[in-house]
């Protein structure tokens, strides 16, 4: 019984990690940039979601607007910060991104106050029992459901539609893709938009589950998502999804049974380093 619950809790946490890490993988797969500031969009999404939901009373509206605002934020960040740095060595974009992230955390504190914000009446809090005995908040189930739906749609888009194929082509060989008339800028904008919107969307869910959004909410996801995209094999969407869910479950068991040895966040990195020593190209990457 307990084992089932731990796995279920792991999957819930894994779904959130997946939403955040997916955006990072899309960006990394395309531009080889470690976009640490991605987590700032996660926090931005949280704040926008809470504000819109409290004002309009509808969580759905909050989620949609939060995703849009975060998506836009991502594109702006790409145009202003990363576009000009594409030709520089990788550490330049990495450190610019870290600077942006640190500044954004402080900006949230100054704009929205240090105390953080909550939903006036948090939705989806009612308890649901499934599979006989496993009890969850409705919100927790919907997190898993919406993640699965989004990833399914994303996978379908990537495989079936023109835009999707264009994105994949650009990831594998930008010059080749460009020679086929694919506008690199448009593909990069789309990827940044989708990736950031996912992070904003995840931000609202975490705000709902905790009923709290705070300026430093993005710090843990910012580095954990990096570990996940490395585990998943940089740039591989299925790999990242699998790595995120696996990490969620491992952390779930780890906090209970390894608690005395390692704190929760260190578990993710212990797992990462162990995997990298065995498979330097990451857990699920093909090569």
């Amino acid at each position: 019984m307990l084992a089932f619950e731990l796995v279920a809790q792991g999957l819930i946490q894994g779904s959130i990690y997946a939403l955040v890490a997916l955006g990072l993988t899309l960006v990394y797969g395309l531009l080889r940039i470690l976009h640490v500031a991605h987590a700032a969009l996660f926090t931005l999404g949280g704040y926008v979601g809470v504000l819109v939901c409290n004002a309009s009373g509808s969580l759905a509206l909050g989620l949609i607007i939060a995703a849009m605002v975060a998506g836009l934020g991502g594109v702006i960040m790409f145009r202003l910060a990363y576009q000009p740095l594409l030709r520089q060595p990788p550490y330049v974009a990495l450190i610019a991104s870290i600077g942006l992230f640190i500044a954004s955390e402080e900006a949230f504190r100054i704009i929205f106050g240090a105390q953080g914000m909550s939903f006036t009446n948090p939705a989806l809090q009612q308890q649901v029992a499934i599979l006989g005995g496993l009890q969850f908040k409705l919100a927790e189930l919907l997190v898993m459901l919406s993640t699965a739906v989004i990833i399914g749609v994303l996978a379908w888009l990537q495989a079936r539609t023109r835009v999707g194929i264009a994105c994949q082509a650009t990831v594998s060989d930008p010059q080749m893709a460009e020679s086929f008339g694919i506008s690199l800028r448009r593909v990069r904008d789309i990827n940044f938009f989708v990736g950031s919107a996912l992070a904003g969307f995840a931000g609202v869910w975490v705000a709902l589950l905790n009923n709290l959004v705070e300026p430093t909410m993005g710090s843990v996801p910012s580095y954990k998502a990096l570990a996940i995209i490395v585990l998943g094999g940089l740039g591989s969407v299925p790999g990242t999804l699998a790595a995120a869910l696996l990490l969620g479950v491992i952390e779930s068991f780890g906090t209970i049974y390894l608690g005395a040895l390692l704190d929760r966040n260190a578990i993710a990195f212990a797992f990462l380093i162990a995997v990298l020593m065995v498979r330097p190209q990451g857990l699920f990457a093909r090569r």
């Binding site: 520089q88 550490y91 992230f101 640190i102 500044a103 390692l262 990462l272």
Partner: protein, 286 residues
């Protein structure tokens, strides 16, 4: 006067720490996002030995050796990993260090170590020693840069494969850079412990690793004078301007971003650009 002495000591320790990272990231091109770990190893080693009765000066070599040893091990691990994974692996080492240290009661666990004995050199004496060590590390950096080791490091930073084809044992050089850089970080850690006489796991976390990395990058990656100036300035900036103090993180993050956005070569890059207006062939890309 004590305030200025304390600031100068803090500055000297920060410069030594930044120079130690400059050896790894600046000279040899290996990005480390977990360098504070090695300062932590040095600090904990010095603090524990100090509490066990060792005189301060005696703890210095031990701190260096322990930190250098761990650095070599991490260096070995880093050889197996692809370039862009290296940064994340070193970050992982940083979180592992904090995660493990805060669980060990022998290392003071969450509460850290506070009763670090006095170094017995007096405030001024300690400051002078810190400045001497800082100058020595700077001199060592300049020497290395001019020696064949420095030239090989430079080559590795630019193109590892070509250096291999020129018969250079690239892994051994990377290990040497890691070992030297982490040993010097351990040294600065010992000074840090005795200067602050309180250390906890959080004092050597991810933020500290980013802080020292940005000092190196600010100064101009690989340039010894640039790193010295940047480390000196950034280590005491918040203490000087109290107003910045409160919005410090905003100013800090903003500066970091703007510097990378407009002058990836750091201050040295800026100086070069204005000192020699005709852009030389390499520009400041290198």
């Amino acid at each position: 006067m004590n305030y200025e002495i304390s600031l100068l000591t803090t500055m000297a320790i920060a410069v030594t720490f930044a120079l130690s990272l400059n050896l790894i990231t600046g000279f040899c091109g290996q990005i480390s996002l977990g360098h504070a770990t090695f300062q932590g190893v040095g600090a904990y080693a010095a603090a524990m030995l100090g509490q066990a009765g060792w005189p301060f000066l005696a703890t210095l070599p031990v701190s260096m050796i322990l930190a250098g040893l761990l650095g070599a091990i991490v260096g070995l691990a880093s050889l197996r990993v692809r370039a862009d994974f290296l940064a994340i692996t070193t970050m992982g080492v940083g979180f592992l260090f904090v995660g493990i240290v805060r669980q060990q009661d022998a290392l003071g666990g969450e509460l850290g170590i506070s009763s670090i004995p006095d170094h017995g050199l007096g405030r001024v004496g300690f400051m002078v020693l810190a400045l001497i060590v800082c100058a020595a590390v700077a001199a060592l950096s300049v020497y290395i840069k001019r020696s064949w080791m420095g030239r090989v490091f430079n080559g590795i930073a630019e193109d590892e494969d070509t250096m291999r084809v020129l018969g250079i044992d690239v892994p051994r050089y990377k290990l040497a850079a890691f070992a030297m850089g982490t040993a010097l970080a351990g040294l600065s850690g010992a000074f840090y412990a005795y200067h602050l006489n309180f250390i906890g796991a959080e004092s050597f976390g991810f933020v500290e690793s980013i802080t020292v990395l940005s000092m190196v990058v600010f100064g101009g990656i690989g340039s010894v004078p640039g790193v010295i100036i940047a480390a000196a300035l950034l280590s005491v900036l918040p203490a000087w301007f109290q107003v910045i103090g409160d919005y410090k993180l905003l100013v800090y993050g903003g500066l970091l971003f703007l510097m990378m956005r407009f002058s990836p070569g750091g201050m040295t890059g800026l100086v070069n650009r204005f000192a020699r207006p005709k852009t030389s062939a390499q520009g400041n890309q290198s």
